[in-house]
Symmetry: C2
Subunit: 270 residues, 2 copies
């Protein structure tokens, strides 16, 4: 087996990380992805750093049963809180979604004032602020935890009066600071892009780290001479820790195209 034949392991607290799979598939159609969504324990964003790290290490142990060449922590909360623990535990390079988001934001801002929204865990970790300041120490970073967005998206409530009101409340303090870039620091948030764009206004660019993460995956694989041979269509595999039937119903929203079935994993055994 060639190095390039190995798969890319991707995990998330649930199905939001499928937005990252979608971008990887669009950019690198020959790559094969093994996806794990921890749907039995979602959300991670309101859980403690210890719990998130424990869960991320179980996901790593599970994904490590496959022949991988790279692992992507597609969950912003797990990327913020557990990336170093996962990197230590994994036998392959590990990429998170924070750093690509920081790079994209830092290069997009002209005002050097960046807004970041995410779960409580992501925002409290300070990972985005640290990542942006590592690139541009003078850049202002204004953050807000927006805990209602994930359950709103999961309910399918992505437009209308309630999301707009909630978005207005959450974004007002950031907009008051004059941000011109808003990082969507959670894989669910791109589904609220319409409302967020409307509330933030045309002067604010929205950064979705799924796109930039896919670019980073390409670069790392190219560097290591580990890209899949072109032409072969990637056959992805999906695993979840709760009922796979729900996966089929929801996955289309995130992944765009019809995706196959998912299999159940008893993740607590890892």
């Amino acid at each position: 087996m060639r190095k390039g034949d190995a798969a890319i392991g991707v995990f998330d607290s649930g199905l939001g990380g499928l937005t990252v799979v979608r971008e990887i598939a669009a950019l690198l159609p020959a790559e094969r992805v093994i996806y794990f969504g921890d749907t039995a324990r979602i959300p991670y964003g309101t859980k403690s750093p210890d719990a998130v790290t424990r869960y991320a290490l179980q996901a790593t142990a599970f994904l490590s049963t496959f022949n991988l060449k790279l692992m992507v922590v597609a969950c912003n909360t797990a990327s913020s809180l557990a990336l170093s623990a996962v990197s230590e535990a994994a036998c392959v390079p590990v990429e998170g979604v924070i750093e690509p988001g920081c790079r994209a934001a830092a290069s997009a801002t002209k005002a050097r004032k960046i807004g970041v929204i995410g779960t409580e865990g992501t925002i409290q970790s300070g990972a985005y602020a640290a990542g942006i300041h590592a690139i541009d120490p003078a850049c202002e970073v204004h953050s807000a935890a927006t805990p209602l967005f994930v359950p709103m998206v999961e309910e399918g409530r992505i437009s209308g009066e309630v999301p707009r009101l909630v978005a207005e409340e959450y974004l007002a303090p950031l907009l008051d600071k004059g941000i011109d870039v808003l990082v969507l620091g959670c894989t669910h948030y791109p589904l609220l892009r319409g409302v967020l764009g409307e509330v933030a206004g045309p002067g604010v660019s929205l950064v979705d780290s799924a796109v930039t993460t896919a670019g980073r995956v390409r670069d790392v694989l190219a560097e290591r001479n580990a890209l899949a041979a072109a032409g072969r269509p990637g056959q992805h595999r999906f695993y979840v820790s709760d009922d796979p039937a729900k996966f089929a119903a929801v996955a289309g929203t995130f992944l765009g195209d019809a995706v196959g079935e998912a299999d159940w994993v008893d993740i607590e055994r890892y």
Copy 2:
């Protein structure tokens, strides 16, 4: 040790079940409660019946390490989906929160039209409708899943425009049917009592099963001659599966009085 000296085990997906502890403590101040809140895997309401049952059995196994005389499944979702599994696994009588809520609702309705709100898991189980129909087969039961209420309460967003709008949307179909009783089928919902009462209007009584569950606990213990000796103040103990520090911050909202510390349990080992 007298039979009455044993404790009452109570578990919930998180801290909402503390409203049941509060009512037990108010009605039976000499009783000792051992509480387990599965904060590392909350919420249960959006998870599959299999996952909820697995979690409820782990909670049962953990609580069974104590000397109990009764177990209360304070979580509506777990009561709906896993009560018989828990009853089989436990060595003591088990009470859920559904049946007491059904009794209270059936005796409160004059129109014989009852509304029930709860999590997706609770509503899809049909447990409230079945319980009410067992008492009064001709009573109309109109149900609605209200998935945004738990995250709203957990964010502390219990009044204002957003909760009112969301409550209006969720309750409109039930109010249109002419209900005169609304069962708050989730331990978090009593914290939204203000908004729900306002939206439902004065013609609709709100039923909070925490109060009626405490009454049921008293009856069962009295029947079995297992009430604690009066006069001794009950010393409760609290356990959670995620960071205990968060417990202290939130528990007061539910339990009213200052509560002690909680200890961490590695629930996946049970």
